[in-house]
Subunit: 543 residues, 2 copies
């Protein structure tokens, strides 16, 4: 079994419960499908975040989850979190000990079992189709049975707030039934997500006055208030908060646990995760995004790529003076960075600051900055974006500094043929004709797509002259149709990410033809990569 | 000039100010670049939403904005909103009448001018580098000058909450200076976005007690509480709320005006936009997304594609009973729909309900549902997603119903060649060999990209046999690399959207080769389109 409360931690995860349900409720998000392997990887990240509890899934009901808990016993080594199995109260008219689903919860062998229980009289009668009394018995019986088997039991009071509005006595009765049977926490769930913060506070205060059991909050974002609702519940006395990393979840999602933690820790001075964990938030949020295969939301509070990205020329001048004037907190506290965006809205100040960020002090050369700012605006008008393509910006800057573009090779022409294969995957073949190092090369490369084939052809063509190219690897490739209303007859922007094994960089390409745009971004990426290798003696060689 | 208060409207936009700054503050979002044409189009949508005020931009400071206001005079016909020009208080040491930027505000000829003013003592001294008294004079002078010129003046008190924390007397002094000089509204701005709702409420209450001027709120989402902060301010007495459609804006964005409006109207019973406007929200939110060229956020409250999408098999059974049991509001009130997602988490219930949603009653055929559910799970394991590709799901369903796939043509092979052109855009050429209607066709089509060329070739190949294809148009094409860590050596999923001018549908294709995946999605989209046309007598013809 997994243990809780690493003695080296400066925070006792039992005092305030940070309860993560990314693997269970988070998995309900549209488009999300997690394998057992994914879940184990995410659990590791959650543990690094310092959450107190990880809800792994619904064993018995979801086969992948039964498997998860089985493998977790030997493959998951949690240092800070406690594993919880989620399930439901027993069926109506059946004893807890005889209920298969309840047995499956025991078989998961977790220290904690979290039961979802009906607390909304309307749901009991219309969805469960049983009596109000039987439902209370279902709660009491299942809780005491599991407590008797040595489990810590948490109870999720489903649809609690709607239920409390309809029939407050019954809703509170459900809380009491759980508490009296030995439940350690009763979590008030805004299952449909329709609550606003003030009403959450009133209800939590009312329940806290009616029963002394530890209360928790489970919020959804249907009114855009999941985080605020969670904070309101805590203000009203809740000491257990449920959420998911990156707010993934059904419909509009669950409360973003990272935002809740950061707000509690940085704004309310309430230590809920270990000191060393919060600065890992950005890295962890992105790691979980990768495993869940969801594109990170750039506007995500605290950890989003844009969270501390400043654009307006107005702000850029002020930031030079004092970053605190324009930031609500120090991005380093959550592991994020301040970024200055270069765009057509940016003035000279942004271009100067961006250049400095990349290691070039251009403040002494007014003319250069003017030319560079002009080039940026022109390119952006054509569809380029340098906000996500620092390497392309740097190549532009170098071109202005050196008086000529950075070229390692001179491309004559390229051509890609993609053909269907009967009964198998299509194959792409690219032929590139270029001059480099005084020689002309005509090379053909194969690949599983046009860009892949062009990449291979290019490597073969210049690999002998620039052996450093073998260190470069294409790791991401994003296509964006700029005039979506025109379908495939539109301008395309392609962003490419490349790495040399040490760091990675992004470049941009734009064109009416998507393959052309991809080629442009690829050539820039390779050029930038070779430029970086220049520190090892490779000089740009004109053809 | 534009007028406000359409007599047919049931809401007086002057009683409660819904103030939209999508075109000004919203435009600060990373990656966003709006042309004047875009701005005029968005303004039209904002007017349909029923907002009271549209902040068009910063004339003088941003050339595109000067142009916007000029063209708005003749090209924008607003029936509900009033146009506002944004700018700043005069420079220190210069008279308002002599300040170019202030003159530019007048030249925009808008009924309303909104001035950003410093209210944070620290900013006055360190960013503006002037005295506290001069700043108050800057506010008073500029406001009275513009009022004297016949403008309604609103004042945005920048960094108000941080300023009030540091030096509350000065911050309130700035509010008073604006009010005394004739400002109609003083908007308290959480410029850095670091506030939490309770603190917003306390500060707004304190300011309301100190001065009777109409107060407004301008929130950002850095703590994930922009919407909640806006509501808290309203609870404390503010009667003017600023935000942007879809919450676009710098860093983490502004308060999502659509969410704020829906919450006020549906949860607080406060009529802030005309009755007929709220059900247009989803359409308008998506229209603005298209113009801003930002991919709509599926988890967006109220109007997101996933906002009322239900996945868990658990919920799907309950929804059959009573939709209100699982939805916090009726999606139709905001123009959205309830959707049932088919996924490997879905059980038979979801597949049945989805089929019914598409018009097929399969509840009587257990075996069919079993087979179909199995096919869905298999495909999803291979990378297909039916959640965003209803038409592909329907084709799968038809194949199970009919016992054989839906085919209008039998593809023998295809090939695409893309070649660079010196000094111009690359050209793509696709050759398709297929059989249809007993005939074999070998057709070549050209295009500005591989998929575009394949689309043209296909149309030519089957256009004589199926003239209906001329009604079909490809309108969107999205590429997603499924194993991003492997760069271009990854599985690709392509989603295609096609229309027949009446409705539109989406299909999915998956493959190691992106062109192959695109071809699969394209063939499905055309097949589905021809199937729809079947009502007009076109039968699927096997080759």
């Amino acid at each position: 079994m997994t243990s809780a409360g690493d003695p080296a931690s400066t925070v006792n995860p039992e005092r305030f419960h940070v309860y993560d349900t990314t693997l269970r409720d988070g998995a309900q998000q549209e488009g999300l499908s997690l394998s057992v392997h994914d879940k184990l990887a995410i659990a590791g990240h959650l543990d690094e975040l310092g959450v107190g509890f990880i809800e792994g899934g619904w064993p018995g009901a979801v086969p992948k989850d039964t498997e998860f808990f089985r493998r977790a016993r030997t493959e998951l080594d949690l240092s800070s979190a406690t594993l919880a199995a989620f399930g439901s109260t027993r069926r109506a008219g059946v004893r807890a000990v005889d209920d298969e689903q309840v047995r499956a919860l025991l078989d998961a062998e977790t220290p904690v079992v979290t039961l979802v229980a009906k607390s909304h009289a309307g749901h009991v009668e219309r969805a469960l189709r049983t009596t109000l009394d039987e439902n209370l018995a279902m709660i009491g019986d299942t809780v005491s049975f599991l407590v008797g088997e040595g489990r810590r039991v948490f109870v999720d009071a489903e649809h609690f707030f709607d239920g409390h509005r309809l029939n407050p006595e019954y809703a509170v009765g459900a809380v009491r039934a759980a508490a009296q049977a030995g439940a350690e926490v009763v979590v008030l769930c805004d299952t449909n997500g329709g609550m606003l913060p003030d009403d959450v506070r009133s209800v939590v205060e009312a329940v806290a006055a009616a029963d002394g059991v530890r209360l928790g909050m489970h919020a959804h974002n249907d009114t855009g208030c999941a985080v605020a609702n969670s904070l309101a519940a805590v203000d009203a006395g809740a000491t257990h908060v449920q959420g998911t990393v990156n707010g993934t979840g059904e419909r509009t999602g669950n409360a973003d646990l990272i935002t809740v933690i950061a707000n509690l820790q940085l704004k309310r001075g309430r230590r809920v995760v270990p000191d060393e964990a919060l600065p890992e938030s950005t890295r962890i949020a992105h790691a979980v995004s990768e495993v869940t295969n969801i594109v990170p939301y750039s506007r995500q509070p605290y950890v989003g790529a844009s969270a501390f990205a400043h654009k307006a020329g107005l702000h850029a001048s002020a930031i030079k003076v004092d970053p605190d004037l324009y930031q609500h907190t120090d991005p380093a506290l959550v592991g994020n960075d301040m970024r200055l965006l270069v765009s057509d809205m940016a003035g000279r100040a942004s271009v100067e600051l961006k250049s400095r960020e990349l290691g070039y002090d251009v403040s002494g050369d007014r003319e250069l900055v003017t030319r560079l700012t002009q080039r940026v605006k022109e390119r952006e008008a054509a569809g380029y974006t340098f906000e996500a393509a620092d390497a392309s910006f740097e190549l532009l800057l170098r071109a202005e500094l050196d008086g000529s573009p950075v070229t390692f090779f001179d491309v004559e022409s390229w051509r890609v043929i993609t053909e269907s294969r009967p009964g198998g995957d299509a194959v792409s073949e690219a032929t590139v004709k270029l001059r480099a190092g005084g020689e002309r090369a005509v090379v053909t490369g194969e690949g599983n797509g046009p860009v892949n084939a062009l990449d291979h052809a290019l490597r073969t063509a210049i690999g002998a002259l620039y052996p450093e190219i073998s260190k470069l690897e294409l790791i991401d490739f994003r296509v964006r149709i700029l005039d979506a209303a025109h379908g495939t007859d539109a301008t395309t922007r392609v962003l490419v990410e490349m790495t040399d094994g040490v760091t990675s960089w992004e470049t941009v390409g734009v064109g009416a033809n998507v393959i052309e745009a991809s080629w442009e971004a690829l050539v820039d990426a390779v050029s930038y990569g070779l430029l970086r290798q220049g520190a090892n003696g490779v000089e740009p060689v004109a053809s």
